[in-house]
């Protein structure tokens, strides 16, 4: 008898356009996910530079940073706003704006014309990148810094001496003898689609809908002849018939998308909790009109909580 009731409930739900759309949505998301091309995610740490200064020192800094065989990949941005947008999109570690006259200010010790270092909360290497940046700046402006310490007439000889030492290799030689290959350049990457999150939210919605069906039937007097125990079994059957197809399809889609992970257990637990909470809620609400008013709020909160949990963990 229970099986017959289960089949009836399932048939009823499977005739509902809304329920079928929910199942189709999970399948559609999985199909899209599987057909998305894998792309290579670069592991380079990208940094953008925007020069408002067009002096010779700016050109030398750009040349030094661009030709640096470093894990930090510097590039020149043509437009400040798009550079900051790129940073906000998480494609840059940080971005620099070098203001007009910065090199003169730096050489003379004027702190009022600083470089702007734009960052996002995920930027963790700001200080290290700044070391690279300023070590080059000091080499480029070092001659001017030194010249500023001597009277006007004595500067040329000092500047030439400094340039010979810093650029020549006869006294100071900077050699990078790092060995070992860097194989972290790229990793396969596929845009993640929220298959798990959508399945969780739809499972909650399906559980709530199953109890709505019970409440509306009950208000029509369909279960008036049944005992309290039988009514509970009907509630459970309705919850099971609404959740099992969703869990089956959601589970398969989950395995296709993520493989076997602990998240599958989370999905299963969510479905069970959703079933029991929806039964409890409908029992407390009693009237379907009241339940109908609360239902969208619960769906909304499910979406918000699922989103927040996804962001946080």
């Amino acid at each position: 008898m229970l099986l017959n009731r289960f089949i009836v409930c399932s048939k009823r739900l499977l005739h509902s356009a809304l329920y079928l759309s929910m199942l189709a949505l999970i399948i559609l998301l999985t199909v899209i996910y599987k057909n998305l091309p894998t792309s290579s995610k670069e592991a380079d740490i990208r940094i953008a530079l925007y020069f408002e200064d067009d002096s010779d020192a700016a050109d030398r800094l750009a040349e030094a940073l661009l030709n640096d065989n470093s894990v930090y990949k510097f590039h020149i941005a043509d437009d400040k706003d798009s550079m900051i947008d790129e940073l906000k999109a998480g494609r840059l570690e940080c971005a620099y704006v070098i203001p007009d006259g910065f090199f003169t200010s730096y050489a003379t010790g004027d702190y009022n014309n600083p470089i702007l270092q734009y960052y996002i909360p995920a930027s963790t290497l700001l200080a290290s990148i700044n070391e690279v940046m300023f070590s080059h700046i000091l080499e480029i402006t070092g001659a001017d810094v030194l010249a500023g310490l001597y009277p006007e007439g004595e500067r040329d000889a000092i500047v030439n001496g400094f340039s010979n030492y810093v650029q020549g290799e006869n006294v100071f030689r900077l050699s990078d003898v790092t060995s070992g290959s860097f194989d972290y350049q790229s990793e396969p990457h596929r845009i993640s689609l929220p298959v798990f999150e959508v399945t969780v939210v739809l499972a909650i919605l399906a559980a709530l809908l199953s109890q709505l069906i019970y409440m509306e039937d009950s208000e029509r007097g369909i279960y008036i002849a049944l005992s309290a125990k039988e009514r509970i079994s009907i509630r459970l059957l309705l919850a099971a018939s609404s959740l099992l197809p969703l869990l089956a399809i959601g589970g398969i889609c989950f395995l296709v998308t993520y493989g076997v992970t602990k998240k599958l257990l989370t999905l299963l637990l969510t479905v069970i909790i959703a079933a029991f909470c929806s039964i409890l809620l409908s029992a407390l609400m009693k009237k379907s009109t009241l339940y109908l008013r609360v239902l969208p709020l619960i769906v909304l909160f499910s979406i918000v909580i699922t989103f927040v949990v996804t962001i946080l963990y």
């Binding site: 700001l126 070391e131 030492y165």
Partner: protein
């Protein structure tokens, strides 16, 4: 009864029904606002997840025969550098084996083994390299450390070049020993200042603003907009509560679906404005920022929300209306940068968002709540 009079009666009835449910709407709105504002607080700092480690532990070994005075001065100077404070922790070990063990146990990312006579060779054209031991030379962190050492070496080269150039010049010019020593001290301090005092020449700017507002304020605007919008959940069943007989009677007076749409549209406006007034007030208390003129700024948003809500009311079924409305509002919020900031959205959606009201509704609501704009 003329069509106009009948329309006005319909409007009057709608407003009466609105007043009955207004306390419930405000209560539900406050509940949604608490949930949304909590979500906004939780995610505004966590949207960007770092890819790289934020601290490196470094162990180093210096043989006992090296000049400890100079070594200690060097270590003190390194300890004062911002990079060291923000990204590195230095641990001096007593033996090479101890350093290697720290790396093996992953207690340190790197172990720097400074060989005997290294400092002696640095000043006398020697060629003794530092040994940097990493757990895995293929990891990105090994290359970051290398980058740091090269940067420190560049500072050192610049400072020493200055000293050498000045010495050559002053010896040639016959400076007295006192004048020479004074000048070398000045050069040392000047270059040390340049190496240690980078923060004075750098201004850090957090780039996560959205629509001209910091990300937290942006999400608070989204929370307010969503809370006001979703109070409509309680209104659909109220405005759809019209018997078939009433509809027939109204149609005999010339009141069609379009008239009913406009009556609903007009009634939704004060509903949304009242919800805004209370919810924005509550959120302003929490944010400790008050912008009373926001009520006028919010009016266009209330008009758009009313239009959508009135359209959805026409579905005739409050459950379908709620679901449709939920999907429409969530889509508008997503495309408008309310779920993820605009810069994190796929390019196609970003292009598309300029033609939909979502982005403008969010920006206007945030402006109404906070005022100004950056």
């Amino acid at each position: 009864m003329s069509k106009v009079t009948c329309f006005l009666h319909l409007l009057q009835a709608d407003i009466k029904r609105l007043f009955k449910v207004l306390p419930g709407i405000i209560l539900a709105g406050l509940l949604i606002l608490i949930g949304m504002a909590t979500a906004a607080e939780l995610i505004s700092d966590k949207l960007y997840k770092p890819d790289a480690p934020d601290m490196f532990g470094i162990a180093f070994y210096i043989p006992a025969d090296e000049d400890d005075v100079h070594v200690n001065i060097g270590i003190d100077l390194l300890g004062n550098m911002t990079t060291m404070k923000e990204s590195l922790t230095l641990t001096r070990v007593d033996s090479v084996e101890e350093g290697r063990e720290m790396v093996a146990k992953k207690e340190a990312f790197f172990f720097i083994n400074i060989p005997e006579n290294f400092f002696y060779d640095v000043f006398r054209d020697g060629d003794t390299p530092i040994e940097i031991v990493t757990f895995d030379t293929t990891t990105i962190t090994a290359f970051m450390a290398n980058e740091l050492f090269l940067s420190f070496a560049r500072y050192f080269r610049a400072a020493q070049s200055a000293i050498f150039a000045a010495t050559d010049y002053m010896v040639a010019q016959g400076y007295t020993e006192d004048a020479y020593r004074n000048m070398i001290d000045v050069i040392n301090l000047t270059f040390l200042d340049k190496a240690l005092n980078k923060e004075a020449y750098t201004k850090r700017v957090l780039a996560t603003d959205e629509g001209g507002y910091p990300i937290r304020e942006h999400y608070m605007g989204v929370a307010l907009l969503a809370s006001v919008a979703f109070t409509a959940f309680l209104l659909f069943s109220v405005f759809q509560k019209m018997s078939g007989g009433t509809k027939v009677l109204l149609s005999t007076r010339g009141i069609t679906r379009i008239h009913r749409f406009f009556a609903n549209f007009i009634t939704y406006i004060p509903a949304f404005m009242a919800a805004y007034l209370i919810l924005a007030g509550a959120l302003s208390v929490y944010l400790k920022r008050f912008h009373p003129a926001g009520i006028i700024t919010f009016l266009p948003v209330a008009l758009i929300l009313s239009g959508i809500a009135a359209l959805v009311t026409e579905t005739g079924n409050s459950f379908i209306a709620c679901l449709t409305y939920l999907i429409v509002i969530l889509l508008l919020l997503y495309i408008g940068g309310g779920v993820f900031p605009n810069a994190l959205l796929p390019t196609a959606i970003r292009e598309f968002s300029a033609y939909l009201p979502g982005r403008y509704m969010i920006e206007t609501t945030t402006r109404a709540l906070i005022g100004g704009g950056l």
